[in-house]
C-alpha cells in the first residue's frame, strides 16, 4: 500500500563532500518496503524545485519508524536535501516501483556504482535471510567513490574496482577478475550508471544467466500517472516507475 507521509529529519551521515545518508523518522507506521523500492521526496522550502525527486530506500527500521536514503548531491534537489534542519518535515510518497526478485537463487553477484548502490542493503539482507551466497562488486573512479562496503560485508563478500586502482582492482567493474575465473553465479543484480549496467548485462546474458537492472529516469509522478518515465523494451515503451525500476535486462531495448 502506497502512502503519502510526513517524516522529520533525524540525522545526517556525511560520507564525503557530496554523498550522504539522510535518516528520517515518522510518527506513523511505515508500510512494508521491498528491495528496489523507491520514494518520491518533496524537497522542502525550495524556490526552484517543483517536482518530487525519486530516491531509492537505503534502509528501514519498522519499530523505530525510521527510513534512510543514500543520496549523491548532483543537482539542486539532492543538494538541498543535504541541508535541511534536524527536525524539519519532509514529505514522501512511497514505497514505489517494483522490486528485485529473489526466488531460489543460490549464488548471486551484485554489481553497483555511484548512487546506484542504495537498493543493495535491503537486497543483501533479504538474500542473506534466504542463505544465498552473495558477492558485491562495487566500482568507482577512485577509492573516494566507494561507499557502504562495511554494510555490504555483513551480507556477503565485497569486491572493489577503481579506475585509478586506488582501491581494489584497477579498471572497470567488468574487468574484475571475477569475470575471468570460473563464473558460477546464477543471477546478477545491477544498479548504477547506464554504461556499467549495459556492460554487466551483456556479460550476464553471454553466460546465459538472468540479470536484473534498476534503471534511472526523469520522473514527474512516480506512480504511473503521467507516463513521462518510459524506457523502450522489446515489448514497446514501459513505464519505469511502475513496471520498473527493476527490469530483466533481456527485455530492454537500450
Amino acid at each position: 500500500m502506497k502512502k503519502v507521509q510526513d517524516f522529520k529529519v533525524l540525522e545526517y551521515s556525511w560520507l564525503n563532500d557530496e554523498n550522504y545518508i539522510l535518516k528520517l523518522i515518522a510518527d506513523d507506521e511505515i508500510p512494508e518496503i521491498k528491495p528496489g523500492n523507491f520514494a518520491e521526496i518533496k524537497v522542502p522550502d525550495s524556490a526552484d524545485i517543483f517536482l518530487r525527486r525519486p530516491i531509492s530506500v537505503l534502509d528501514v527500521n519498522y519499530e523505530k519508524k525510521t527510513i534512510s536514503f543514500y543520496i549523491k548531491a548532483i543537482g539542486k534537489g539532492t543538494r538541498k536535501l543535504g541541508q535541511l534542519n534536524i527536525g524539519q518535515t519532509v514529505n514522501i510518497v512511497y514505497p514505489l516501483g517494483n522490486q528485485f526478485v529473489v526466488q531460489d537463487e543460490k549464488k548471486v553477484l551484485i554489481v553497483g556504482g555511484g548512487s546506484g548502490i542504495a537498493p543493495f542493503v535491503l537486497l543483501g539482507r533479504e538474500l542473506q535471510s534466504k542463505d544465498v551466497d552473495v558477492t558485491f562488486l562495487m566500482g568507482g573512479r577512485t577509492k573516494n567513490d566507494i561507499f557502504l562496503t562495511d554494510e555490504f560485508s555483513k551480507y556477503g563478500k565485497v569486491e572493489v574496482t577503481t579506475e585509478d586502482g586506488s582501491r581494489g582492482e584497477k579498471g572497470m567493474v567488468t574487468h574484475h577478475s571475477l569475470f575471468k575465473s570460473e563464473f558460477d553465479f546464477d543471477k546478477v543484480y545491477t544498479c548504477g550508471p547506464d554504461p556499467m549496467m549495459k556492460a554487466v548485462a551483456k556479460i550476464a546474458e553471454s553466460k546465459g544467466i538472468l540479470c536484473e537492472a534498476s534503471l534511472e529516469n526523469m520522473m514527474a509522478c512516480g506512480i504511473g500517472a503521467c507516463l513521462c518515465c518510459v524506457t523502450p523494451t522489446h515489448d514497446g515503451n514501459k513505464v519505469v516507475c511502475t513496471e520498473g525500476p527493476v527490469f530483466n535486462t533481456k527485455e530492454l531495448a537500450w
Binding site: K3, V4, F50, M218, A220, C221, G224, C226
Partner: protein, 304 residues
C-alpha cells in the same frame, strides 16, 4: 451542509466540481492507495486514440520554474483496450468517468467517439483538440476555428452524450474558437490544455525533450489560464470547465469565480496524490466559512 452539485452542460450534473485532468491521473487506479475515487466529481482519463500508441521517445519531461514540460504524446493502449480491460475495472467507482478522445484525422475522432457511444455508463466525453505533443492532428485542430468546428460537428454526429471540447491556449483569441465549437454542438468547453514550450540544456546544447517542444503545465500558467477562462465564460453560454496550475482550494475558487462550472486538477496530482480531495474539502470549508450554501453560486461570481 454545502450543496456541492454543479451542472456541466447537456444536463450532466456532477456531485461536486472537483475533477482530475486527462493525462495527469492515469485511469484513476494509480490513486486508489491515496484517495477514495468515489469522492471525486469526475475523472478525465488519459487521452485515448483509435489504435495503441507508443507515445514519444524519452526524455518526455522537463522541470521548469513552477511548472513542467511534457511530451508524452498520447501513449495509450487504444480505445478497444480501454473498453475491454480498463473501463470494466474502473466503472465501479461512483464518479463520472470522462474518456478524453484524440485523433490525427477527423475520421479517427469519429471512430473513437462511436466506440465511446456504445459504452454503458459513460455520459460524456472530452474532445481533445489541443494536444501539443503529437506530430499529426492534436493541437492543429484546436488552433484554427474552421478545423475546430469541423471536428466538433463530426463528433457531434457520432456521439449522443455530452461533449466537452478541450481548447488549446496557444491561440490569439480563445473566445473565437470557443464560440465556434459552441455553435458546432459542444455542450461545454474545458480549458486550458498545455502551452507549447521548450527547454534547452545549456551544457549539452540540446533540447531536453526528444520532441524539442512540449506542453507547459503547472502554476506557471495559472494567470494566463485564469484570464482565458474568464474571457470564454463571458463569450459563450455553455459551461466552462477550468484548469491550468490549480494547486490548492484558493486557486480552484478563483477559477470558479472566473467562470468555471467545474475544475480539473492536473500537474498538482504529481506533487501530492491526495491534492484533489484536499481541494474539494478546501472548497467546502470556504463555502461554509463564507455562507455560500451552494457551490454553484461561485461560478462567475467575480466582481468586476
Amino acid at each position: 451542509m454545502v450543496d456541492l452539485r454543479v451542472q456541466i452542460g447537456g444536463g450532466l450534473e456532477l456531485k461536486n466540481p472537483v475533477t482530475t485532468a486527462s493525462g495527469t491521473f492515469g485511469f484513476g487506479q494509480e490513486f486508489t492507495d491515496f484517495i477514495d475515487l468515489d469522492e471525486l466529481g469526475g475523472i478525465f482519463v488519459k487521452g485515448l486514440t483509435l489504435k495503441l500508441r507508443q507515445g514519444n521517445d524519452y526524455p518526455r519531461m522537463a522541470e521548469t520554474a513552477s511548472g513542467m514540460l511534457n511530451a508524452v504524446g498520447l501513449q495509450n493502449k487504444g480505445i478497444d483496450y480501454f473498453i475491454e480491460t480498463t473501463y470494466p475495472d474502473i466503472k465501479k467507482y461512483k464518479t463520472e468517468i470522462f474518456p478524453n478522445i484524440n485523433g490525427s484525422v477527423v475520421e479517427d475522432y469519429i471512430a473513437v467517439a462511436e466506440k465511446v457511444n456504445e459504452i454503458e455508463g459513460i455520459n460524456a466525453l472530452e474532445l481533445n483538440i489541443s494536444c501539443p505533443n503529437v506530430k499529426e492532428g492534436g493541437m492543429a485542430f484546436g488552433v484554427s476555428c474552421p478545423s475546430a468546428i469541423a471536428v466538433t460537428e463530426a463528433v457531434r454526429k457520432a456521439y449522443d452524450g455530452v461533449i466537452i471540447v478541450k481548447l488549446s491556449p496557444n491561440v490569439t483569441d480563445i473566445t473565437e474558437i470557443a464560440k465556434g465549437v459552441e455553435g458546432a454542438g459542444a455542450d461545454a468547453v474545458s480549458l486550458v490544455n498545455t502551452f507549447l514550450g521548450m527547454a534547452i540544456d545549456y551544457k549539452t546544447r540540446k533540447p531536453v525533450l526528444s520532441t524539442i517542444t512540449g506542453g507547459l503545465s503547472g502554476p506557471a500558467i495559472k494567470p494566463i489560464a485564469l484570464r482565458m477562462v474568464w474571457q470564454v465564460y463571458n463569450a459563450v453560454k455553455i459551461p466552462v470547465v477550468g484548469m491550468g496550475g490549480i494547486m490548492n482550494a484558493e486557486d480552484a475558487i478563483e477559477f470558479m469565480l472566473a467562470g468555471s462550472s467545474a475544475i480539473q486538477i492536473g500537474t498538482a496530482n504529481f506533487i501530492d496524490p491526495q491534492i484533489s480531495i484536499k481541494i474539494l474539502k478546501g472548497i467546502e470549508d470556504y463555502c461554509k466559512d463564507n455562507n455560500v450554501s451552494a457551490v454553484r453560486d461561485l461560478i462567475g461570481a467575480l466582481e468586476v
